[in-house]
């Protein structure tokens, strides 16, 4: 697979950047992350194969470095591998080839215990399908990750309500998820991803299925999260998101 990393917006003007180049190297270091190690380093990785190519090992050519506090957009055609890349970044899958360092940790040899800890405490994931438990109220859904990360009782409820408040759904905590609109479902999924206080937020098509207004609200929420200093990676073709991004990667 040929991977091209094309910056589309948000490059600092003082950087010397050749926009026509197809390169695996991003400007290093990104200005918002001076003095800090990168959150993500992909070194010549190949995405895991799907369908009839499953199990085949290939040479990887995807390189990516994401610095703390960046908002990165992943763009590309459908089936270009954006979701697969997010799965790799979220430790839900392993690359077919290459190295993936997360906060300086080599992920290839992580044990289940450590990978789960990283997923539960460091990474927040918003899935494309907005998977929520249908027979549970919104509050229960948002509290779900806290089941594995520690806080109990009232503090668990407080954290979930706080997270819902951040996405503008505080008043809908007791509703069942089937009563939410598409935009509210997306924000509920974002609240669930944020409830553990992760430093890295991965969003797969967060505005999919939402109307223009709802999409704007969703992008606004993600931009607010980014402004808090979190690293956000969004797989989307939404142009509004592009306006907030610090780098864009086209697959």
């Amino acid at each position: 697979m040929t991977v091209r990393l094309l910056p589309e917006s948000g490059w600092p003007e003082d950087q010397d950047h050749d926009s026509s180049a197809s390169t695996a190297q991003l400007p290093d270091p990104w200005p918002v992350a001076h003095g800090q190690p990168p959150v993500i380093e992909l070194q010549a990785i190949a995405l895991p194969s799907v369908g009839r190519h499953r199990g085949q090992r290939r040479e990887g050519d995807l390189n990516l470095t994401v610095w703390p506090g960046e908002l990165v957009m992943l763009t590309g055609r459908p089936r270009s591998g954006r979701s697969a890349l997010l799965n790799v970044l979220g430790l839900l899958d392993r690359p077919a080839a290459g190295r993936y360092l997360l906060n300086g940790v080599e992920t290839a040899k992580l044990r289940d215990k450590d990978a789960s800890a990283l997923r539960g405490r460091l990474i927040g994931f918003v899935f494309q399908r907005k998977i929520l438990l249908p027979s549970r109220p919104v509050l229960d859904n948002v509290m779900l990750p806290l089941l594995y990360t520690g806080p109990r009782g009232r503090s668990r409820v407080d954290a979930a309500l706080d997270s819902l408040d951040r996405v503008g759904l505080a008043g809908r905590a007791q509703l069942m998820t089937r009563e939410l609109s598409a935009g509210e479902l997306a924000r509920c999924a974002i609240a669930r991803a944020l409830v553990t206080g992760p430093s890295l937020l991965l969003c797969d098509e967060p505005t999919a299925g939402a109307g223009p207004e709802a999409a704007a609200e969703i992008i606004g929420v993600l931009a607010a999260v980014h402004r808090e200093g979190k690293t956000v990676i969004i797989a989307t073709d939404d142009q509004l998101a592009a306006a907030y991004s610090s780098q864009s990667v086209r697959l």
Binding site: P38, L92, R129, L133, R192
Partner: protein, 426 residues
């Protein structure tokens, strides 16, 4: 490039507390009631089957035991065969009745012997014979028998006096000239009532009839005999003559089922010095058959229990697997949110254990109801063993855990990346 670490340095592993696992199991059950009912229904059926089979077999065993107990021997006979040693005429101690009464299971005990004169039966007449003693004797083997009864014999033989009274301790102590007639002999002698004091003559010696024995299940011979107090018999005819065939016999009436034990102990109670001198006999009764029947019922019980357990385990496992298959997207989501493989397995096991427990409780109640209703239908006494009843729900919970192992393994190895992209939203 920065330095590479093999594992995150300060990140605490994710955890799942038991209370959270149980809470999630409860929520999952209430959120998906239909699969939950299907799973717990198989546990309910299995435990109901188990408890009902156990209860019905116990009830039937109780009935069989009662039926066989009614046919068990309740009479023991002990004699002291002649030996080379010089034995006293009466081979039992004078307080033998009291000694044997003290044994558990003994209702009454007493000795008796047939009275004869030089090997000839005693002549029984309703009036004096004028030709002199001895001349009016009934030929041997044709006349009515005369029985000497030591204290306790009448009770041991189950003698029921239908007319008058039996002779008692005073008659025994004073060798009173009184006797008891068997109902058949009384009819033969034309004595229907004891309202008038009837006298009969035993070898021309007068004896007052105090009562008529209507039944004697332990010694039916009494109904055709004259029964004398032992002391009176000795006074009139001398001690029992073994050479003439008058061997004193101990008759012991015992409770059903106690015969074997009493028969083993009685010789030692009578004489610790020479217990082997005595010959003990009792009707064996259908003991072996009873044991065979109850053994067969026990085997049936074991088979029924195993069949119920296997049925429940298969049902639980199948429904649990089906339920897990339906919940794969949810499990993948949990995995993506930080759950470890073991956490997913614990979720599934906790849920199937809880469903097993709930089904077990309901099944135990249903099983008890079945036993009680069935027993009431046939007028039997329901027998339910609490020691087997209370653990039944716990066993169902354990069966739930066992049945959940394969589904739990299935859940633990869910690949979230595939599931979350391929499965439809929940």
């Amino acid at each position: 490039m920065t330095g590479v670490m093999a594992r995150p340095p300060t990140l605490k592993p994710t955890v799942l507390k038991p209370s959270d696992a149980l809470g999630e199991a409860g929520k999952a059950i209430s959120a998906r009631p239909l699969p939950a009912i299907a799973i717990s229904f198989s546990a309910l059926l299995a435990v109901a089957w188990f408890v009902a089979a156990l209860g019905l077999v116990s009830t039937a065993s109780g009935q069989v035991t009662s039926a066989f107990a009614a046919r068990l021997a309740t009479t023991i006979r002990i004699i002291a065969p002649a030996s080379r040693l010089p034995d006293p005429p009466f081979p039992y101690p004078s307080d033998v009745s009291g000694r044997l009464d003290a044994l558990p299971g003994v209702r009454a005990a007493g000795a008796w012997w047939p009275v004869s004169i030089d090997g000839h039966p005693v002549a029984v007449t309703t009036g004096p014979v004028t030709t002199g003693p001895g001349t009016g004797r009934t030929p041997a083997g044709t006349g009515p028998a005369v029985i000497a009864a030591a204290p306790g014999f009448l009770a041991a033989a189950g003698v029921r006096v239908t007319e008058g009274r039996a002779f008692g301790a005073w008659d025994q102590a004073h060798a009173a000239g009184s006797c008891l007639l068997g109902s058949e002999l009384a009819r033969a002698l034309g004595i229907a009532s004891t309202s008038r004091q009837h006298l009969i003559y035993l070898d021309n010696m007068a004896c007052t009839v105090t009562g008529i024995a209507g039944s004697a299940p332990g010694q039916p011979e009494v109904l055709r005999s004259v029964v004398l107090p032992a002391s009176t018999a000795v006074a009139l005819f001398g001690p029992p003559d073994e050479l003439a065939g008058a061997v004193p016999e101990l008759l012991i009436l015992v409770r059903p089922g106690a015969a074997a034990v009493v028969a083993r102990l009685a010789p030692y109670v009578i004489s610790q010095a020479r217990p082997r001198r005595f010959s003990v006999s009792f009707a064996a009764g259908p003991v072996r058959l009873g044991r065979q029947v109850t053994g067969t019922l026990s085997d049936l019980l074991v088979l029924a229990c195993w069949a119920g357990a296997a049925m429940g385990l298969i049902g639980l496992s199948g429904f649990s697997f089906f339920s897990v298959t339906q919940r794969i997207p949810e499990l993948a989501l949990r995995r993506a949110l930080g759950a470890r493989r073991r956490h997913l397995a614990v979720h599934v096991l906790a849920e199937s254990a809880l469903l097993g427990l709930l089904g077990g409780l309901a099944g135990a109640s249903l099983g008890v109801a079945v036993v009680v209703l069935a027993a009431r239908q046939v007028n039997w006494t329901p027998v339910i063993v609490p020691a087997m009843l209370w653990p039944a729900p716990l066993a169902a919970a354990i069966a739930g855990i066992v049945a959940g192992i394969i589904p739990a393994l299935r859940a633990a190895w869910v690949r979230p990346s595939r599931v979350l992209s391929e499965f439809a939203p929940l």
